[in-house]
């Protein structure tokens, strides 16, 4: 379970998260929508301790993310993250991109890491690209590689930060399909996205962010089809 309790986050004078309360249960898929700059991505970074918070608390499986006593590297092994930019390691083959962290972080042997990587890459349909270098692949393929790389750590949670925003339109589908696959696997996910229809079809609940607060949080179909708040209605009418 991921729990946020009145989380405040500022960059200098700019407060980007204003008292966020949220909990995501094991097995749930939560999508987060909202305009750019509304704090959606920042929230993900805070959950993964890539950003510090100024107030409130975040816990993952009961572990306080920002406590000094928390082993950040251990915590992150349990929280996979995929970014807008796919960030493939350009000096490593596709296989080694995925095998690296299991090897050096989890201490797997080269053979074990290799078989983990092969399995994950086949899962995202990159089984025929093992020895390719990522720069030879399309953005969609590299994004799927990034997903496989995160999954290879066998995390309990996955965070997705606008993973299709930097992709050419024709490549968006294959990445969304991969997310659907994870949903079927029962992965717990928080998906920050601009793909409203995808969010409606795939998530259990959707949170609509507006200027650093959760303006509306509801079951996915309800929020999209019958938004209660005026700001949600305005936002949806603009993007749908």
């Amino acid at each position: 379970m991921i729990e946020l309790n009145s989380v405040n986050k500022s960059f200098g004078d700019l407060q980007v998260l204003k008292g966020i309360d949220l909990s995501v249960a094991k097995g749930e898929v939560l999508s987060v929508i909202g305009a750019s700059g509304s704090g959606k991505s920042t929230m993900l970074y805070c959950i993964n301790a890539l950003e510090q918070i100024q107030g409130g608390s975040i816990s993952v499986d009961g572990l306080d993310v920002h406590a000094k006593s928390t082993d950040i590297n251990k915590l992150r092994q349990n929280i996979g993250m995929v970014f807008q930019q796919w960030n493939s390691f350009p000096h490593l083959t596709v296989l080694d991109n995925v095998a690296l962290a299991p090897k050096i972080v989890l201490g797997k042997s080269a053979d074990e890491a290799r078989s983990i990587a092969e399995k994950q890459l086949q899962h995202v349909d990159l089984g025929d690209k093992l020895d390719t270098y990522p720069t030879r692949m399309s953005g969609g393929q590299q994004q799927r590689l990034a997903i496989a790389r995160a999954l290879a750590m066998e995390p309990g949670y996955m965070l997705f930060d606008e993973v299709t925003s930097a992709l050419d339109p024709e490549l968006v589908g294959e990445v969304l399909d991969t997310l659907r696959l994870l949903r079927e696997d029962g992965m717990t996910m928080i998906v920050v996205t601009h793909e409203i229809n995808f969010a409606r079809d795939v998530s259990d609940r959707i949170a609509f962010f507006h200027q650093g607060v959760i303006e509306e949080l509801a079951p996915a179909k309800e929020l999209v089809n019958n938004p209660q708040r005026q700001r949600t209605q305005q936002f949806l009418s603009k993007v749908l």
Binding site: N73, F83, H91, A146, R149
Partner: protein
């Protein structure tokens, strides 16, 4: 008996043995260069990292390194070499030359290394940290290999420069290629042939560095 037997010979022509003398001097050039470039590069990478992570280092260390980069090497050598006897700690020319060349190299490499580290986008480092890698693992397995590729051409330029600049250590009396050539020219009065040979030696020393770097660059291409 010819006339020459009665005159004192000041000058003798270039002999085969002199090649050995030059080769030995080339060995000294190689020795001081290898020591300076290798230690200087390691130090330079540490300095470059410090410049990258710390604002304070950027001001303090950055200014010191600027001095090493900006003051002509020959002045640094003479100042340093003559400074220690004043303290009662006379230094060998070789030691003084090594120390100055090491810091000179490190000052040049520091900026190259900083550029290499900064060639790795923050977003990529966040990705590796999000996989649970520690700061050092991220540095070792992601930043270093990517940064090293980015800095290789500039580093090669520095290494070749230092190899040739090591000739200036001759002013301290260290018997390297340039000094050996001056000695031979004084004796033989045949500057052309000797300088040509010395040039060939320098080329022979430099060529492998450039070649190795080109090979690495090719091997390290991302495909």
């Amino acid at each position: 008996m010819s006339e020459s037997a009665n005159t004192i010979q000041f000058f003798t022509g270039f002999r085969f043995n002199d090649l050995g003398f030059l080769a030995e001097a080339a060995g000294n050039t190689l020795l001081i260069s290898v020591i300076s470039i290798s230690i200087g590069s390691v130090l330079g990478c540490l300095f470059g990292w410090a410049l990258h992570v710390s604002v304070l280092a950027r001001y303090i260390l950055g200014s010191v390194l600027d001095i090493f980069r900006s003051v002509p090497l020959i002045i640094q050598l003479l100042l340093f070499f003559n400074f220690f006897p004043i303290l009662g700690l006379p230094l060998e020319p070789f030691a003084a030359g090594c120390i100055v060349l090491i810091f000179y190299t490190s000052a040049l490499v520091a900026q190259v290394a900083r550029g290499g580290i900064e060639a790795v986008p923050d977003s990529m480092r966040r990705a590796s940290r999000s996989l649970g890698m520690s700061y050092l693992q991220d540095m070792r397995y992601v930043v270093w290999p990517i940064g090293a590729r980015a800095m290789l051409p500039a580093w090669t330029g520095v290494a070749l420069g230092v190899l040739k600049d090591s000739a200036l250590v001759s002013v301290l009396g260290y018997l390297e290629l340039l000094r050996a050539s001056q000695i031979l020219i004084t004796r033989t009065q045949e500057p052309f042939i000797i300088l040509a040979i010395v040039g060939a030696f320098y080329f022979a020393l430099s060529y492998p560095i450039g070649k190795l770097s080109a090979k690495l660059e090719q091997r390290w291409q991302y495909d």
